[in-house]
């Protein structure tokens, strides 16, 4: 913050940035251009290896894998984004109340957060999906609703160190209420570490979605996500390596890139 000297970016970071940009473009454009191509079946063409016509080959229904992987980017990244947005909003709200709502709220909410942290989240997600059924939005919201705890802790800790600062006291001297002080002073000043954390949880959310979809309880076919394309590929493992390799690579490179960017940020702070 306020620092105007930018260190020269490492090539690793530049690559990471480029990859993320590419994926974002794919995620935004794919649904407009590739929806038809990605669902077009051609059984005569099933399970063909990568070629000039199908750069990543075709799947067992003869669909073009490149189109499906790019469309999958919009689903996987969209789920990740929604999950993180949901977790940041929840985390900021809960952390703010814990940090500035008085001892009683602090104990209650941090106790709740500890319980959530001890809980095996994956099984919680499984249980919820078993009850509500799978679906793109549900997966995103459930991931968000079970991953707000670190954000809440960060916000609370920041607020604890900010709330006796002079500029906060000054606002109290002008008659500002708790809500005013939270939204005008405490949250804006507490937010930067949370945003770095959000970048890292974005990659965790992408992984979680892939995992759930791979198990068949996340995003449901025919909507492609990187996770469920991988799951499809599992059936033909010995025959068609490309069905595992390309979506796997997408997940790997994207998560790696996001973490590279997030790592650099958290070193700087």
């Amino acid at each position: 913050m306020g620092g105007s000297t930018h260190p020269i970016e490492s090539p690793m970071k530049q690559l990471a940035k480029a990859w993320i940009l590419l994926m974002l473009c794919a995620a935004i454009l794919a649904p407009f251009f590739l929806a038809h191509k990605a669902s077009e079946m051609n059984f005569l063409n099933a399970l063909t290896a990568p070629s000039l016509k199908h750069w990543m080959g075709t799947d067992s229904l003869g669909r073009d894998l490149l189109s499906r992987v790019l469309w999958g980017a919009s689903v996987s990244l969209g789920v990740g984004f929604l999950a993180v947005a949901c977790s940041v909003i929840l985390g900021v709200m809960i952390g703010s109340i814990a940090g500035y709502g008085g001892k009683w709220w602090d104990r209650l909410l941090m106790g709740f957060s500890d319980v959530m942290l001890c809980f095996p989240v994956f099984f919680l997600i499984l249980a919820v999906i078993a009850m509500l059924g799978p679906g793109v939005w549900k997966v995103a919201l459930i991931i968000g609703a079970t991953s707000w705890m670190s954000t809440a802790r960060l916000i609370r800790a920041e607020i604890f160190s900010l709330k006796e600062r002079e500029f906060v006291l000054a606002a109290r001297g002008f008659g500002a209420g708790r809500f005013w002080i939270l939204q005008r002073h405490l949250i804006p000043n507490a937010l930067s570490p949370v945003l770095v954390n959000a970048v890292l949880s974005f990659s965790a959310a992408v992984l979680m979605e892939s995992g759930l979809s791979f198990l068949g309880i996340g995003v449901q076919p025919p909507t492609p996500s990187w996770g469920n394309i991988l799951m499809d590929g599992k059936a033909t493992l010995g025959v068609a390596w490309w069905l595992l390799f390309f979506p796997g690579m997408m997940i790997f490179l994207t998560v790696l890139s996001i973490n590279t960017l997030g790592e650099n940020e958290s070193h700087r702070n």
């Binding site: 913050m1 002079e166 109290r172 005013w180 804006p188």
Partner: protein, 230 residues
């Protein structure tokens, strides 16, 4: 006529086993300046925070007969929200009171800036882009926006260089003359206290030190120099 009367104020920080204030009584007369002198850790800031209502005392009474009291802090940069521009900082007290008329606010803010002798160009700056003295002027302007009749200044020049100290002290004196402001002026610096005060209160380990106390006599004779690390 006293504008503020404080009787038997005590405050202990139990978790650190510190008695910050012990049975402190004094009064501030309307339009006058009470200087509070004391070394680091003698309870000056605790007293200021209690007077502003930021902390609750364990015991004691505070009678304030004015309309509004405001505080100026020691560290000018920490007094201003780093994420807000000067304009937003000066507007905030009005917005808290739900005054949002653009024309009125614009006029008010220009008035306040000229009171503290800052150019309008500073409105778009962030606190980090101002010097310590300029930050302190913004904090003073913000406090004046409330038309206070009592201003509590907790070491307002201790963080500034000597030249800026003199400028800010003179600004306080000028404002006091023009606005019938009562001041509580806290400092560990005897020269500053002499320059500013009509009455002087000496604090030592949370207690009021009477004039005939050897510590007070030595201090006022400037034989002791209070520690400067706060």
């Amino acid at each position: 006529m006293p504008i503020l009367e404080v009787k038997n104020l005590s405050k202990r920080f139990a978790e650190h086993d510190v008695t910050a204030l012990d049975n402190v009584s004094f009064q501030v007369n309307e339009g006058e300046t009470l200087g509070i002198l004391g070394e680091s850790g003698s309870g000056k800031s605790t007293l200021a925070k209690i007077l502003m209502g930021f902390l609750n005392p364990d015991r004691g009474d505070i009678y304030f007969s004015g309309k509004n009291k405001q505080i100026i802090f020691q560290d000018p940069l920490l007094s201003l929200d780093p994420k807000m521009r000067v304009e937003a900082i000066l507007k905030e007290p009005f917005q808290i009171k739900k005054i949002s008329d653009k024309h009125f606010l614009g006029k008010k803010i220009r008035e306040l800036l000229s009171l503290v002798e800052l150019p309008e160009a500073f409105l778009t700056r962030y606190p980090a882009e101002l010097s310590g003295g300029e930050c302190q002027r913004v904090a003073i302007a913000r406090a004046l926006s409330q038309d206070p009749d009592l201003l509590i200044c907790d070491e307002p020049v201790s963080a500034l260089d000597l030249l800026t100290q003199a400028q800010i002290l003179n600004l306080f004196l000028k404002l006091q003359k023009n606005r019938r402001l009562s001041l509580i002026f806290i400092s560990h610096d005897l020269k500053v206290i002499h320059h500013m005060s009509d009455q002087v209160l000496i604090l030592k380990s949370g207690r009021v030190c009477e004039r005939d106390d050897p510590y007070a006599q030595e201090l006022l004779a400037n034989k002791l120099s209070p520690s400067y690390n706060n």
